[in-house]
Symmetry: none
Subunit: 132 residues, 3 copies
DNA sequence: AACGTTCTAGAATATTCGTTG
DNA sequence: GCAACGAATATTCTAGAACGT
């Protein structure tokens, strides 16, 4: 049966998603991890602080690469910033990720987001979500 | 032992459930074994003390694993904690379990909770309880 | 670090096995984690200290259950201690595990020990090792 | 026969590392 | 170069199985 509940939303949502939601909703870290202005994506404004201060509190690692791997597993895509620098990038540009069912104020969309490898029926995994 | 009802010894309730109820109602162990704040689950706040001091008083063992096995047998589910990241040397997060018919103040729900393997008709075991 | 061979970093051995080997070879923790007298198995003499002091240094958790799960995955078996107490138990008996290719002084046996789920050919996984 | 205790395994998600396009 | 992915191992939670009372 639906066990291993997580307390945020009393559902069996994967831990990664509820953690990510909690993270981005946290107001005291908005300085370097927050929703984008229009709420359609989220931003890592200071990767160093994010990796050092946030990741180890919520996950069993402190590697940006592992965090990104999880994002990709759940269908998030990086938002590319083109032409944001001449040589390379002025400094490190912010890291931005987006998912069609992960938007500010719409935690209901998140409900049934699935991992790409979670279920045994592959065709149901490719994307995710029933509310669509 | 205080005023709390103690649904023991007067029914055909499995020993595990009445012991668990007694345990969590005990006020003098609330420091490390107690109801959660909203009474919807119970917490093991200090696993080491719980294992050494409480388990052997009620059961024929002092293994957390055996206790958890029984919880799962009766349909209890672990409550996941968002902030369970890299292990801190200092303190462990509490262990929390929940069951829809095991709630503070509602010992009547507990009455007919059944083990998942007790009956020979599997479909009747999945959950349990008639008062619902 | 003493004279014991340490079969790490120079092979494709899974991290769990090389860590386990390192652990049991460490002399300064022999007080509560060590080879058995005949070197055919290893002992956890103080589970609480082992869980708190050793596990988090080598793994991303501090749960005995997770450690045991890994041991079973690699084919280790618990060594049963019969008649280890009359009324209850004087103290806690030590936890002992054994594997036919994990023996003191024979790190060569360990070389090709495989997880039960690692390869895609199930029949080759059941046990393990090529040197036998 | 039901329940309790122990040891091992199943299944899902998480983390790492290396590859693909 | 680099975002996304495949695959192996690791961690977690729950269940199967054997045995005893």
């Amino acid at each position: 049966m639906g066990c291993a509940l997580n307390p945020t939303k009393n559902s069996n949502m994967p831990a990664f998603l509820s953690k990510l939601w909690t993270l981005v909703e946290e107001t005291h870290t908005n300085e370097f991890f927050t929703w984008s202005q229009n709420g359609q994506s989220f931003l890592v404004l200071d990767e160093q602080r994010f990796v050092k201060e946030i990741l180890p509190k919520y996950f069993k690692h402190n590697n940006m690469a592992s965090f990104v791997r999880q994002l990709n597993m759940y269908g998030f895509c990086k938002v590319l910033h083109i032409g944001s620098g001449i040589v390379k990038q002025e400094r490190d540009g912010p890291v931005e990720f987006q998912h069609s069912y992960f938007k500010q104020g719409q935690d209901d969309l998140l409900e049934n987001t699935k991992s790409k490898v979670s279920s045994s029926k592959p065709e149901e995994n490719k994307i995710l979500g029933l509310k669509a």
